[in-house]
């Protein structure tokens, strides 16, 4: 109980160190952005940013500025992104790019003394705590809180039936063990259980938290291809490092394939090696595209209200009934997709581990 209190206090304390920033949205180059642009709205909600936008009341944006950590030519720069004043000013020679080009939202260097982007200079190495990273912290805290509590209940309730949070998680954990790990991996499934469980619950909870529109939910974490890249890289590295001899033999010298597909031009080994790389790559794209597409659809339905509202307010109100209904329906579907995508990612990772550690069926008859 005390550790839980400590963790929750640290979490809220972490966010309270960034004083809320309320800034007027007016300014020379902002007035023409009053015009509603659905495409821009959707993109701005999907991509990463250096501040966590909570609400816009009238003309004021309420945001939480996140820390900016840069390495520029060997020197560390750490400061709060509130110094950028929502992209209106530069600080220490950096600014947030506001033009809609490839660098939009990222930190670029300015020509000293002006606000113009220095196109000749390289961008600094950006290690900032951005919205996605803060979203990962939120999800990580949720997972740790839930699982430390459940682990403690298991030690306290030894021999008794599960109660409370245990009874919610136990079917899921047993499901991963009995339906995903054991059938796919076979004998050595216990080695991979910690990773598979972490993967499943992290992806599942992160997907769910991304669907909550209020702070601290709503950061598009698994819809960021960098995050899914890292998860797929973990799977790739674990398959590569736990591959046994027959696994690598199947890749480089597949038994049963005629020699002329392997010798002068190693066609089959090339196909198998691309398979080794493509399988985690597809894992990455599948999770990223599913979650991002879901967010885009919900944002699209909501933008539809404003697009019609521009034509006439009555039409806006009429469309809003239909739009809200569809948005709720899609959000419910997204709940299902959140679970299915976490399950499929875990299942395929387990399958790849199983293939890597498979004892060859007829290893007895060694060639």
């Amino acid at each position: 109980m005390r550790t839980k209190l400590l963790i929750v206090t640290l979490f809220f304390g972490f966010f309270m160190t960034f004083p809320l920033m309320a800034a007027p949205a007016s300014g020379g180059n902002e007035t023409h952005e009053q015009e509603f642009n659905a495409g821009h709205l959707i993109i701005d909600h999907i991509v990463d940013s250096h501040e966590w936008h909570i609400a816009t009341i009238g003309h004021t944006h309420i945001t939480i500025p996140l820390p900016v950590i840069l390495i520029d030519q060997g020197k560390f720069h750490v400061f709060s992104s509130s110094k950028f004043h929502h992209g209106h000013s530069s600080y220490k020679g950096f600014k947030i790019e506001t033009e809609r080009n490839a660098n939009k939202g990222k930190i670029v260097k300015v020509i000293p003394g002006t606000m113009q982007t220095d196109t000749a200079a390289e961008k600094p190495i950006d290690l900032s705590i951005t919205k996605t990273v803060a979203g990962i912290f939120v999800s990580f805290l949720v997972v740790i809180l839930i699982f430390s509590s459940v682990a403690r209940s298991y030690t306290r309730n030894k021999g008794h039936a599960p109660r409370g949070l245990q009874s919610v998680l136990e079917p899921l954990i047993l499901f991963i063990r009995d339906e995903v790990a054991k059938p796919s991996i076979g004998k050595h499934y216990e080695r991979f259980m910690p990773f598979l469980l972490t993967l499943f619950f992290f992806i599942f909870f992160t997907n769910l938290i991304g669907l909550i529109p209020l702070f601290p939910g709503g950061a598009n974490v698994t819809g960021n291809i960098g995050v899914t890249l890292v998860l797929a890289a973990f799977t790739f590295m674990m398959t590569a490092f736990s591959g046994n001899k027959s696994y690598w033999q199947h890749i480089f010298n597949t038994p049963g394939v005629p020699w002329w597909l392997k010798f002068p031009i190693p066609l089959f080994p090339i196909i198998e090696i691309t398979g080794v790389v493509v399988k985690p790559f597809v894992l990455m794209i599948r999770l990223f595209a599913n979650i991002t597409a879901g967010h885009i659809i919900v944002l699209g339905f909501v933008s539809l209200i404003f697009v019609f509202g521009k034509i006439s307010p009555g039409l806006g109100y009429g469309v809003s009934v239909v739009s809200v209904f569809f948005a709720v329906f899609i959000s419910v579907l997204e709940l299902l997709v959140a679970f299915i995508q976490a399950y499929v990612f875990t299942l395929l990772s387990a399958l790849y581990f199983g293939m890597a550690t498979e004892e060859h069926a007829h290893a007895a008859e060694h060639h």
Binding site: V282, I285, R286, F288, A289, N290, A293, Q341, Y343
Partner: protein, 86 residues
């Protein structure tokens, strides 16, 4: 002569054509995914009708296959989104 001038105009700025092509691509990806997953659904329902006791097994396999096929469809969607927004 007019066709030539229209083609010349098109050749200088292909962005609208690219956007139209991206939209078509996304539509074709949706059709293909619907076709594929519809097939899976049909086979799953027929198998459940033949042997209702296996419906749990069949359901999990159906969902896994559907997710894999959706993965491929999403490849196409991601390419179209790249054209539209980058």
């Amino acid at each position: 002569m007019t066709i030539l001038s229209v083609l010349m105009q098109v050749a200088t700025d292909l962005a609208p054509l690219a956007k139209m092509a991206a939209a078509f691509g996304a539509g074709i990806a949706a059709i293909a995914a619907a076709f594929g997953i519809g097939n899976i659904g049909r086979a799953a329902l027929e198998s459940i009708a033949r042997q209702p006791e296996a419906s749990g097994d069949i359901r999990s396999n159906m969902i896994v296959s559907a997710a894999l096929i959706e993965g491929v469809a999403f490849f196409a969607i991601v390419v179209c989104l790249l054209i539209l927004f980058i």
